[in-house]
Subunit: 176 residues, 2 copies
Amino acid sequence: MQSNKIGTVQVYTGDGKGKTTAALGQAFRASGHGFKIIVIQFMKGQIKYGEIEAVKHIPGFTIEQYGLPTFVDKDNPSKEDVELAKKGFERAKEVILSNEYDMVVLDEANVALDYCLIKLDDVIDLIKNKPPNLELILTGRYAPDEILEIADLVTKTNEIKHHYQKGIQAREGIEY
Amino acid sequence: MQSNKIGTVQVYTGDGKGKTTAALGQAFRASGHGFKIIVIQFMKGQIKYGEIEAVKHIPGFTIEQYGLPTFVDKDNPSKEDVELAKKGFERAKEVILSNEYDMVVLDEANVALDYCLIKLDDVIDLIKNKPPNLELILTGRYAPDEILEIADLVTKTNEIKHHYQKGIQAREGIEY
């Protein structure tokens, strides 16, 4: 953990493309300054995301996934979905409170909150107790107001135009 | 250059944080799938951006800067600012038309256009002539309507809340 830094809470939300990639790019940039970084991905798993391969090249930069490759049924999440999200949150707590990291990204945490896979009070508590130097980044649509309230920086991405509308499906290297 | 891909034109614009980092994260992700990538940064130079260091770890991923470390005076850009932007555009043309890259990012190209350091007609022409498989990404505030028009995907980032407002200055690993 580097000292003499001011760590803030960044949130990337909204319906536009670029929330996860903004966090990944932020982590990539920070790695160039020797930050110790972990990205904890909620609700994502196994699918061959490019970042999982790319990160292997960069010292001090880790990505862990706590989800299944399938979509979560919001009205009826599987037991495994709930278990994995719980595990992800416990891991988030561990790394944040360890004071060993310079940057922690909780990818899709806002969606996990919206799907009630993790608890808002727990996340708020964790944010309040983060080490002052730690840069904490939460991504995902549907960020609850309470999270926006407590964040230092909130960027909302708006989808002005999307090629999915033109019938192009999710592509390797772009969407995953 | 990989085949069997559909390359689109992505634009990240707006006043929110996360435009350059979204493009960097996109490139980082794509690198995990073996894409050959170049990021050409307009109006940026010499300042120790983390991405310049981080990229050294990743095979097939290059970043080049075509700008000065100082801000460009919009009403009266220096001869060197104009020269460097011109060089950057020539390089962009070269790499795009070479058909050797899978992804080209023209970072801050929208601002260079807004500052009249590069010509809109030239950029539109280049976009129209890009190889079909190439993923082309333009970032920066003030994207002209003609660029939005020709793009496949447009994400506008809105700054809902920013810690600069709380008096925190640009920080190593975060803003650069």
